[in-house]
């Protein structure tokens, strides 16, 4: 039997046995609910989209009023649609009925339902002021265009423009990736300990290689994690775009797709490390203590991503930190969510992570091979390393 076939069989067993387990079903529901909640918060607070108002005009007014309202509205990031009314009374009535949000009548009165200093009040006041100014300048024979010519004023930026995407998506992605990688990493941990503590590993390894068992387990569990992630991505994007329930930031789709790539990379890195840690202990009670170093790496990366990368994704610190392989899988998707990470940096992060994965896999596979068949209590990594030198070829 070749390596691929036995690895496939091990992976198949892991995936099918666990997909049926209550733990998988519960964790899928939990993650869907969690992400659904986060996305809802994002949609409601971060990206409500521009507000829109309808405004009525009636009676004599400065000629530039309509243009002025449109300009001020655009500057304030508000959508304003305008309607002409035949007389002031009709416009007032429309405001009173709630058909429109506000009206300007007779060129000197702003009508609102409640005078509470709302955005539209301010917009109309400013627009009216400007329109009058233009009218007076015009009367003096000054061409207002020379005053408002944008070309005469230059805008100098100290930083490149920020894109519209929210921190919300970045935070969601960091939390989600950390959760999924840790959850499924723990499954690998418990799975390896179970095989060792129940001694079934001896039966399995008598007819396949230790490396197939390790690879198959990691791949099988990764498939479950991937399934869950894809389900989430489809749900989120589907709900956002197809049913138009909320407006998602423009980086959602690329972030979601990249998250899948980063999940696979991050999971490979952490799961193999978890497996090696697990192989060193013989009883499930010792599993968590044995996996502490790996778990700490995960939590540290998560915190680093949240405290450094999310608030300022393109600072030098963030750029360097997010390149580090244990942090990269969690931090990069956050940077991608902001939409400003250069492609070459993303690819460099991927490449570095792959290199790290290769190193971890070699180290961990060797510790695993040396330790998985040992009986008795806890083994030190060094002992396992030496033991596997002897077990070459298994």
């Amino acid at each position: 039997m070749n390596f691929l076939r036995s690895t496939y069989l091990v992976a198949w067993r892991e995936a099918t046995e666990r997909a049926r387990s209550r733990a998988y079903v519960v964790s899928t529901i939990f993650t869907v609910v969690l992400v659904g909640g986060l996305i809802a918060v994002v949609a409601l607070t971060d990206t409500g989209g521009p507000k829109s108002y309808t405004v009525g005009r009636a009676g004599v007014a400065p000629p530039a009023l309509a243009t002025s309202i449109a300009m001020v509205a655009t500057a304030s990031d508000v959508l304003v649609s305008q309607t002409e009314y035949s007389d002031a009374a009709a416009a007032r009535q429309a405001v009173a009925d709630g058909d429109i949000d506000a009206a300007i009548v007779a060129g000197d009165t702003i009508v609102v339902k409640h005078a509470d200093g709302s955005t539209i009040e301010a917009i109309l006041a400013t627009a009216l002021g400007q329109a009058r100014l233009v009218q007076q300048l015009d009367a003096l024979g000054v061409d207002p265009a020379t005053l408002t010519d944008a070309g005469a004023i230059s805008v100098v930026a100290t930083e490149p423009p920020k894109s519209d995407t929210g921190e919300g998506i970045a935070v969601t992605t960091v939390v989600l990736l950390f959760l999924v990688i840790t959850t499924y990493g723990q499954w690998v941990l418990m799975g390896v300990v179970e095989e060792k503590s129940t001694h079934v590993v001896e039966q399995v390894v008598s007819s396949t290689s230790v490396r197939s068992l390790l690879a198959g387990k990691v791949i099988g569990i990764a498939a479950l994690g991937l399934g869950q992630l894809v389900l989430l991505v489809v749900l989120v994007i589907g709900a956002g775009s197809v049913f138009d329930l909320f407006t998602l930031p423009s980086a959602t789709v690329p972030t979601a797709l990249w998250s899948i790539v980063w999940f696979l990379l991050g999971f490979a890195f952490y799961a193999v490390a978890y497996a090696a840690a697990a192989s060193l202990v013989s009883r499930s009670e010792d599993a968590q203590a044995g996996a502490m170093p790996v778990a700490l790496f995960g939590v540290a990366s998560y915190l680093v991503a949240l405290t450094f990368v999310v608030p300022d994704p393109e600072s030098t610190v963030s750029r360097v930190i997010s390149l580090l392989p244990p942090v990269a899988p969690i931090a990069y998707p956050a940077r991608i969510a902001f939409g400003d990470a250069p492609v070459w940096e993303i690819l460099a992060g991927v490449a570095l992570t792959i290199v790290a994965i290769v190193a971890v896999v070699r180290l961990a596979a060797r510790i695993y091979a040396g330790a998985i068949l040992s009986a008795g209590g806890r083994m030190k990594p060094r002992q396992a390393w030496r033991a596997s030198r002897e077990l070459a070829g298994r």
């Binding site: 039997m1 069989l9 046995e17 033991a387």
Partner: protein, 294 residues
């Protein structure tokens, strides 16, 4: 044919194997005997590459055992274990596929073995839901599902009730009759004498006796001297003899193999009235005790 030769393995200060060699032939059953800690498990694990030997060779049909050869081997480890939450049938079939069977072959064979071992109807139960005895049967099915050419069973009778012992014996005999090579370790010498044609006795990592049961008994360094006196109180002290039993006038001694039976008979008759006399090869249990010196 399985040939283990010159096996050596140390665990720190502990010598687990010290040059042991064992041969097992097709269609025959080898009983692998030895006290606790003698090295039986270590030797059996070496067949599956589960221990890194310090020295020695493991050959199957004249060739070094490799991963491909092992697919035709069945193993029942000393430490039993199956995935507790997996269903019995699925698990046995999966192990069959892991040894190269197609999905349909594995399913068919699983069904046949579960039925033969009295587990029909339990196929969809989780392993952890089975009784201890049934878990043992499932374990046996797991080692047999691919109808292996070599069967290595580490203490297969331990923890079995008499019915379980009978079922296990029948399966072992059946596989040998079908041409498989079988080796199993045991302490239960009566069973070994009943089931096996060959034995190998290991002590402190070395083989101290090996061959067919008759050979081992015949070439043992001692002979069994049995004398019955009509009067149990007769005083008789035969030379070079070690008394191993004395009950109601029946006395059993171990004497050197080259001793002269006639001299013992003459001496016994001089001491009292003799109602029975035998001079024969020792029983397997006696060979075993003598060989391991305890």
């Amino acid at each position: 044919m399985l040939e283990l030769a010159g096996l050596a393995k140390r665990y720190g200060e502990v010598v687990a194997l010290d040059g042991a060699g064992v041969v097992a032939r097709p269609g025959r059953i080898v009983g692998f005997l030895g006290p606790n800690g003698a090295g039986k498990t270590t030797a059996m694990r070496s067949v599956f590459g589960l221990v890194a030997l310090d020295a020695g060779t493991v050959a199957w049909n004249g060739r070094q055992v490799d991963a491909a050869a092992r697919l035709r081997f069945g193993y029942m480890p000393e430490q039993r274990g199956l995935y507790p939450k997996m269903r019995v049938g699925a698990q046995v079939a999966w192990l069959g596929r892991l040894r190269g069977m197609s999905r349909t072959d594995a399913a068919r064979s699983t069904e046949a073995w579960l039925e033969r071992l009295g587990l029909d109807g339990r196929s969809n139960d989780r392993v952890e839901a089975l009784s201890h005895g049934n878990q043992q049967r499932a374990q046996l099915a797991a080692s047999l599902v691919h109808d292996p050419d070599l069967l290595v069973l580490d203490e297969p009778f331990s923890g079995l009730d008499p019915m379980g012992v009978d079922a296990m014996s029948e399966v072992i005999r059946g596989r040998a009759a079908e041409g498989a090579t079988v080796i199993f370790s045991s302490h239960q010498l009566d069973l070994v004498q009943d089931i096996c044609q060959d034995v190998a006795i290991i002590d402190r990592g070395r083989i101290v006796a090996a061959g067919t049961i008759d050979d081992v008994r015949g070439t043992a360094p001692s002979r069994r001297l049995e004398v019955s006196f009509t009067d149990p109180s007769v005083r008789w002290d035969p030379p070079n003899a070690r008394l191993i039993r004395d009950r109601n006038g029946l006395r059993i001694y171990m004497v050197p193999r080259d001793a002269d039976p006639a001299a013992y008979l003459t001496g016994a008759m001089a001491a009292g009235v003799v109602s029975g006399f035998a001079f024969e090869a020792p029983r397997l249990s006696e060979v075993f005790r003598e060989a391991v010196g305890r």
